[in-house]
Every structure is written in structure tokens, then in C-alpha cells.
């Protein structure tokens, strides 16, 4: 087929992708090149690989499977507090790992709320530790993400299509086959791949909820190789394994998710005529809300009493974290928008792949690699904040692309020809059509990136600037100094700040999720 003209060049996006790939693979290479005497895989590594894959596949499949009915219910129902609930969906995702673990176990643990109720009625407490506990925790983290991705898919279906379906008298099942199934087929593979990749690098959560060394993941082995064994070769090898697995998952997702968008719509407010059974929808929304909000309220409750114990210096760290989050969001958009445009005009597997690798890259490897690379030129700790912002952006990139690419693709397919005929090319198309058309997605992606950056301990711990600490680092330090209550207060502060940033950015771009 003859190559058709495109309104925007894919060159900047390809360049951005190479930059990201260079960051991830370059740091890996830097680590690998420092190898002294390395060991290959040991039998315990194979066990770790097996466990890592099992939990990641289960977590991804269950998260996405549960997210479909929840997103569907949210897409169909309007109720007071709906937009707040959608904003809160971002929350589990942004908590520092240690805070999330404590919150989860306050609800699901041996001495958790649910066990308390069970014991009160004479039953035995729940046994949370094990593979099912790992999966539960990962679903807690990723169900909201999956729900938002799928909900967005629903909202990108032009209301004209639903109108047509309603006119044709499609009931639930027919509507599902006609409109929703094709949409899901387009969204789900990407969502699965992203969550699989996130769970692949899980470490503290998997170990703690898994109940012991049975739940050893590759990331733990990488950590061990870096610290206790100082075996950089093994660390690089294991990290390369993670990257390969992620790349394989990403390729599979790309193959599966090929499909066209829904064609033009006229921005009519979304209105649905398929009432369906409200009972099921209400049930799904309530269950998901409970599952997500209970651990969050545990975090909030323990945070309240500690809020007044939060030392002033932690507030300073909060400001630093906000600054890093904003910088990280700007970097993210500078990378993600051209990449999304590149993918939209032509299938660039390289760009998509570079986009997802950030997830599977071990933060330890990136951090150490950057340290090795930067050290001959500058004092790494002087660059702690810019490097943290950069790495946080790279880690948020996969999410941003999942959010931006479908919208970019639709925009190009809907408006590309018209733009071309009007000589709107390159920057003009980018700024006059692509960005305005993608505002909601840009807002969502920016909000997510900012919140992720807020909660991530990131590489700042490795770069150790003695003068500047971020909020998550200070929370960890409070815990290390026995000040668990103050740390809980700090975690609440973090939660509130992250949610506020997320809400402002997401709200700024959102037209579709009106309550």
C-alpha cells in the first residue's frame, strides 16, 4: 500500500524514544561493564523467576478482569461523588510502598479490621500471607490504574456510537459485542502488559505479603547482588532478564491490540441509553470502593494522630517533592507527547517498546548506572534532584503512553487528512489539533506522573544529597528512627499533596468525567 502523507513528523518521537532507551539500556550497560567476577544464574534464581512470573501474570489478569466491570459501571452511572471517586482511584498507586504495605495489613492482616470482625464472630483471622496475599496487594495497587485506563477507553467511544446502538435497540449483550468488545480488545492488551511489567519488579510488597523467601522475586535477587554480594554482573544479568520479559509482554500486547479507532464524533456530551441492571453496577462500584478505600482510610486514620508530630523539616521536604514532581511531569510530557504522536502516525514498535521498558528497568540498576556514568563528570549528589526528576519521568512514561497513544491515534485518524489539506503540519498540527484534542488525556497523564513522582523514593536514596531530602525519604527516615506515628503523619501529608496535584492536573484536562 502506498505510504500516505502524515500531518506530524515522527522524528521527534523517535528521538525521544532513543533517549529513553539510552537511559535504560545505557545504565544497564554501565553496570554490566563494571562487572568483576560475576556468577551466572543459580537454582534459586530460577525459583525466583518462576515465582516472579506467576505472581505478575496472576496480578495482571485479575486486576484487569476486575477492572472491566468496575469501569463499565462507572462509565454508565452518574452519582454524586463520582468524580471524587475517580480521582481517588489514583491514590493506591502513589503511596510509598512501605506505607501501602502497612495500610493494607491494617485491613487484611492477622490483626487487621477484617480479622477483628471475623474473630469477634468466632471465626479465625484471615491468612493473608502467601501468593494470594501478593496478588491481593498488587490488585490493590493496579486495579485503579486498570480501571482508569479502561474507563478512558469507554469514554473515548463517541457518543454517536452509543446513540446508534440505542437506536438499533441493542441490549447489553449486543452493545457489548458491537461497541465495547472492540474497544476492550484495543485497550486490554496494553493494560495487561503494563501491569505485568509493574508486578515484575515488585520486591518489598511481594516479600512481605508473600510471607517469606518463597516469595522471592528477581528484583530481590538484584538488590542482593548489588548490596550484599556486590556482584554487578549478576545484577545486570538479572535486570536484562526483567527487561526481556517486559519486552516480550509488550510485543505480545502490540500484536494483539492493533485496531482502528472509532472514527469521528462531535464532542457531544456522553449519554448512554443502555440502562442495564443498576444492581450489578452499584455492587461493582461499592465493592471496588470498599476494597480501595479501606486500606486508604487506614493510612488516613493512622496519619491523623501523627500529623501534628510531623517535624517542620518534613514540610520542607514536601516542597522539594512537589518541585521534583512538577519538573518530572514537564520532562514526561516533553518525552511522551512526541512519542505518542510518532506512534499515532505510524506503528513504531521501537517507540512503543522504549516506552514500556521504563517499567521493567530496576530502579537500582538505573540509579547505579547513572551514578557510574555521571561520577567522572560531576558530583552525583549535586545532580540528585534533576536525576530524580528524569528517572521518575522515565518510570511514568509507560503509563503516560498507554493513556496518550489511543487518543493521539484517534486524533490523527479523524483530523489528519483535513489538517493536511489545510497545510497544518508539524508544530501547527501538534499545537493546534493534537494537544487541544488530547487535553483530557494529557491532564490525566500529567496528574499520574506528578503523583507517581511524589510517592516514589526513586534514585534520590542512591544519590544522597546531604542537603536535600524528598518527602518519601523523610518518611522512611522517620520510620528508621522509630517515629512510626510521625511517619504515618508524613504519609498522610504525602497522600493529600499527591492527590491534590493529581486532581488539579487531571481536572484541568478533563471534560468527560463530569459528575
Amino acid at each position: 500500500m502506498a505510504r500516505s502523507a502524515q500531518p506530524v513528523s515522527s522524528l521527534p518521537g523517535v528521538a525521544a524514544a532513543f533517549l529513553v532507551a539510552a537511559l535504560i539500556l545505557g545504565t544497564l550497560a554501565a553496570v554490566a561493564l563494571r562487572t568483576e567476577a560475576g556468577h551466572g544464574f543459580s537454582s534459586s534464581d530460577w525459583a525466583a523467576l518462576k515465582f516472579t512470573l506467576t505472581q505478575a501474570v496472576l496480578s495482571a489478569v485479575i486486576s484487569v478482569a476486575l477492572a472491566v466491570p468496575v469501569a463499565r459501571a462507572l462509565a454508565r452511572r452518574r452519582f454524586p461523588g463520582r468524580s471524587l471517586l475517580i480521582a481517588l482511584l489514583g491514590a493506591p498507586f502513589i503511596l510509598p510502598v512501605i506505607v501501602a504495605i502497612l495500610g493494607l495489613l491494617q485491613v487484611f492482616g492477622r490483626a487487621g479490621w477484617i480479622s477483628d470482625v471475623l474473630v469477634y464472630f468466632g471465626a479465625s483471622p484471615i491468612r493473608i500471607y502467601g501468593l494470594h496475599g501478593v496478588v491481593l496487594a498488587h490488585v490493590f495497587f493496579n486495579l485503579p490504574l486498570a480501571t482508569r485506563l479502561i474507563l478512558q477507553g469507554w469514554q473515548e467511544v463517541p457518543s454517536e456510537r452509543f446513540r446508534l446502538a440505542a437506536q438499533l435497540g441493542c441490549d447489553g449483550k449486543a452493545l457489548f459485542r458491537l461497541i465495547e468488545l472492540p474497544m476492550l480488545a484495543r485497550i486490554l492488551p496494553g493494560a495487561l502488559a503494563v501491569i505485568f511489567a509493574i508486578c515484575l519488579t515488585s520486591f518489598a510488597v511481594a516479600l512481605t505479603l508473600g510471607g517469606g523467601p518463597r516469595a522471592t522475586t528477581i528484583e530481590l535477587a538484584i538488590y542482593q547482588a548489588f548490596t550484599y554480594d556486590f556482584d554487578l554482573g549478576r545484577a545486570a544479568l538479572l535486570s536484562a532478564l526483567q527487561l526481556t520479559l517486559t519486552a516480550a509482554a509488550a510485543f505480545a500486547a502490540l500484536k494483539l491490540s492493533r485496531g482502528e479507532g472509532f472514527g469521528a464524533g462531535l464532542d457531544r456530551a456522553i449519554q448512554r441509553w443502555d440502562g442495564g441492571a443498576p444492581v450489578a453496577d452499584i455492587l461493582w462500584i461499592s465493592l471496588a470502593t470498599l476494597f480501595l478505600l479501606l486500606p486508604l482510610s487506614a493510612v488516613v486514620l493512622s496519619g491523623f494522630s501523627g500529623l501534628f508530630l510531623v517535624p517542620f523539616i518534613v514540610l520542607k521536604a514536601a516542597l522539594v517533592s512537589v518541585a521534583v514532581a512538577v519538573a518530572s511531569t514537564v520532562i514526561l510530557l516533553l518525552l511522551a507527547l512526541p512519542m505518542a504522536a510518532a506512534i499515532a502516525v505510524r506503528r513504531h514498535s521501537v517507540v512503543e517498546l522504549a516506552g514500556i521498558l521504563g517499567l521493567a528497568a530496576s530502579p537500582l540498576v538505573i540509579g547505579t548506572g547513572l551514578f557510574i556514568i555521571i561520577r567522572p563528570w560531576a558530583n552525583p549528589s549535586d545532580l540528585a534532584l534533576p536525576v530524580t526528576a528524569l528517572v521518575n519521568a522515565a518510570m511514568a512514561l509507560p503509563f503516560a503512553l498507554r493513556i496518550l497513544v489511543p487518543a493521539a491515534r484517534d486524533t490523527v485518524s479523524r483530523h489528519g487528512r483535513l489538517a493536511l489539506s489545510l497545510n497544518m503540519e508539524g508544530w501547527v498540527f501538534f499545537s493546534r489539533v493534537l494537544i487541544p484534542r488530547m487535553r483530557p488525556q494529557i491532564g490525566f497523564a500529567a496528574g499520574l506522573a506528578a503523583a507517581l513522582s511524589m510517592g516514589d523514593l526513586g534514585v534520590i536514596a542512591l544519590f544522597a544529597d546531604p542537603e536535600i531530602a524528598t518527602l518519601p525519604l523523610q518518611i522512611y527516615r522517620l520510620m528508621g528512627a522509630y517515629k512510626m506515628q510521625a511517619a504515618a503523619g508524613g504519609a498522610l501529608l504525602l497522600l493529600v499533596l499527591s492527590m491534590a496535584l493529581f486532581w488539579i492536573l487531571d481536572r484541568g484536562g478533563r471534560w468527560h468525567a463530569e459528575a
Binding site: 563494571r34 534459586s44 525459583a47 512501605i98 504495605i101 502497612l102 495489613l105 491494617q106 492482616g109 492477622r110 487487621g112 500471607y129 520486591f203 518489598a204 516479600l207 512481605t208 505479603l209 510471607g211 517469606g212 523467601p213 518463597r214 530481590l220 538488590y223 542482593q224 548490596t227 550484599y228 556486590f230 517535624p311 523539616i313 518541585a323 519538573a327 520532562i331 547505579t368 557510574i372 561520577r375 558530583n379 549528589s381 549535586d382 545532580l383 534532584l385 534533576p386 526528576a389 536514596a461 542512591l462 544522597a464 544529597d465 546531604p466 542537603e467 536535600i468 525519604l473 523523610q474 522512611y476 527516615r477 522517620l478 520510620m479 528508621g480 528512627a481 522509630y482 512510626m484 511517619a487
Partner: protein
């Protein structure tokens, strides 16, 4: 981004101004430099006597600290490393990156210390912390038979976790694997680091958590809470000794020696108990803070010499993995 760069620029400018004085760079673990650790007070006390600028850089924990030094190698920016524990000393020595010290001090460690390179600054006993007033097992065998639930840390990612591994190995030798197998149903879970385990314990997730005999002192002194205590184990308690050393490649050898000597002096040692919540290596003139007298003192100290610890770990870790992976 622009502001960050400006901020970074300002920082460089201020450190350049301070550079008229000689600068001593000390790498240590992160909790040492935190605002609630010994770092700020130590910096103030040393700068009052040294005519220098003391720069404390925090690196996660002891194991990560040693990795950082090995990563930087011969031209490390560090002059002194503070915060390795005895289980890392042998590996550290083999790197050849450290130089002998000039310190002479009267340590009150329960074990003999005569290392030419590494200077101890504090120490403690590992112990299981539990709520006061509860009846708890008095040894590992009894613990294994009981219904008591414990939280421990992973020896592959945590210093206390490694301490427990060596504790059981020191107490039971070839039977350690059996003990672990029996303990497996008592272990609620294994965490990445100390903070997760201790946090879960405070939330009531288990009866006991692996920590130090000095942990109750924090609750007593800082929170006026005497509800925590430690279980005395008949086998004895494994010791952790934290040490510091001068880098062979330092460009401030005299200042580094000065710091190591300062470290065993009263000014430094009085800071340790209520910031690092460990026993000082040299008893402060004013004695230990009130509250430390209430702590359990184990009858027997278990300890692998640095040269034995690495071999013990190599043997014990696979046993632990095997026993707990069933």
C-alpha cells in the same frame, strides 16, 4: 526545572564558600544522617573542634554503603566510612580500600576488639521485642514449639535479618537448619527491612519482632512508654558491632584520624544512645541515659569474629532459604 537548577547552583556556591576550610567527607548509612539520627549533633560537635567542614553522606544501609565504596573504588570521595557492621568487615578488608587507624580506647564491648583497621563506635544485642507483661518463650526451641508469632527481616536485604541468621547459626551450628524448619510456622512474614517489620509489630500484626535489646529504651525515653520489652533467650544473644574506618585513598588522612579519635571520645559517644539507640562503644563519663538501666542484659553474648562471619553466612543462608521455602 529552571528553579531546580538554580537551587543546585546555589548549593554548589555555598559549598564552594565553605571550601576554604578543609572538608572531611564521611559516608554512612541513611538513618545516621537523618534529622532524628546522630548526624546533625555529631556534625556540630566535630566542627566545633576540627576547624573543618564535616560532610556526612547517607547511603541506605551498611551493605549498600560498602557497595558504594566498592563502586567508587580507589578514588572514592569518602575519607571515612562509618556504619559497617562486623558481618561486613571481612569483605571490606579484602577490598584493600581501607587504611589502619591510630585510635586507642577502652571499649566496653562484651567481646575483645583489636582490629587495626576498623574502629567500633557502638554495639547492641539482637532481641525479640514484645509487649511487656506477656509470657514469652525463652529460647528458639521453645519459640518454635509455641504459638507465638514473630516478624523477621530478610537476611538478603536487611542487617538485622542477617544478624538473626547468624544468631541461630552461632547458637545451634549444624542444627540451625532444623531450628529454622521448626520456626517456619511461627514466622508471620519476612520483610525487606527493619522498618516494615517494626511498623507491622506496632500495628499488632505479631507477638514479637526482631530488633535490639535497646529498642524499648526508645519507647521509654522518647515516648515515656514502658509497654515494650525484650525476650531474654537462654542461648545468648547475637551482637552487632558497628565500626568505622579510614579510606586508604583519603586526601585528608590527618583529619580522618582526628575524626576516628573523636568518634570514641565522650562528645560523640554521649550522642549515640538516644539517637542511634545503641550502646556506646566507650562508656560516656556521665554514664548511660536514665532508662538504659531497665534494659535486658543478655547473660551470654554470641558473636562471629569478622573472619568467621562471612563463612557462617555462606553456610547459613542456603539453610535458611531451604527451611523457609518448604
Amino acid at each position: 526545572m529552571k528553579h531546580l537548577l538554580i537551587a543546585a547552583g546555589l548549593l554548589t556556591a555555598t559549598s564552594a564558600m565553605a571550601a576554604e576550610k578543609p572538608q572531611l567527607t564521611v559516608y554512612t548509612y541513611d538513618s545516621f544522617v537523618s534529622d532524628w539520627g546522630p548526624g546533625p549533633k555529631v556534625e556540630e560537635a566535630f566542627e566545633a573542634v576540627c576547624e573543618c567542614d564535616l560532610k556526612l553522606i547517607g547511603v541506605e544501609d551498611g551493605a549498600a554503603l560498602l557497595s558504594r565504596i566498592r563502586l567508587e573504588g580507589k578514588n572514592s570521595d569518602a575519607d571515612v566510612v562509618l556504619g559497617l557492621d562486623t558481618n561486613l568487615v571481612e569483605t571490606a578488608k579484602k577490598t584493600g580500600l581501607f587504611a589502619p587507624h591510630t585510635v586507642e580506647a577502652q571499649y566496653t564491648l562484651p567481646v575483645e576488639w583489636a582490629d587495626e583497621t576498623f574502629v567500633p563506635y557502638d554495639w547492641g544485642y539482637f532481641a525479640f521485642v514484645h509487649k511487656a507483661g506477656e509470657t514469652v518463650p525463652t529460647n528458639f526451641r521453645e519459640l518454635a514449639k509455641s504459638d507465638a508469632k514473630i516478624l523477621i527481616q530478610d537476611p538478603r536485604s536487611s542487617t538485622p535479618g542477617l544478624g538473626l541468621l547468624l544468631w541461630v547459626k552461632a547458637a545451634y551450628g549444624d542444627e540451625a537448619a532444623d531450628v529454622w524448619a521448626d520456626l517456619s510456622d511461627n514466622i508471620v512474614t519476612v520483610t525487606k527491612g527493619w522498618s516494615e517489620a517494626y511498623g507491622l509489630f506496632l500495628d499488632g500484626e505479631a507477638d514479637m519482632v526482631l530488633s535490639y535489646t535497646t529498642s524499648p529504651a526508645y519507647h521509654l525515653i522518647a515516648e515515656e512508654d514502658n509497654s515494650k520489652t525484650t525476650a531474654a533467650f537462654e542461648e545468648g544473644h547475637y551482637m552487632q558491632v558497628e565500626v568505622a574506618a579510614k579510606l586508604a585513598g583519603t586526601d585528608q588522612p590527618e583529619l580522618a584520624d582526628k575524626f576516628l579519635n573523636f568518634m570514641v571520645s565522650d562528645a560523640f559517644q554521649t550522642i549515640i544512645p538516644t539517637t542511634n539507640w545503641m550502646y556506646p562503644a566507650v562508656p560516656p563519663k556521665g554514664g548511660l541515659p536514665a532508662g538504659f538501666d531497665t534494659l535486658q542484659v543478655p547473660e551470654k553474648a554470641l558473636f562471629f569474629k569478622p573472619e568467621e562471619a562471612a563463612a557462617a553466612r555462606r553456610e547459613a543462608l542456603p539453610e535458611w532459604l531451604e527451611a523457609l521455602s518448604q
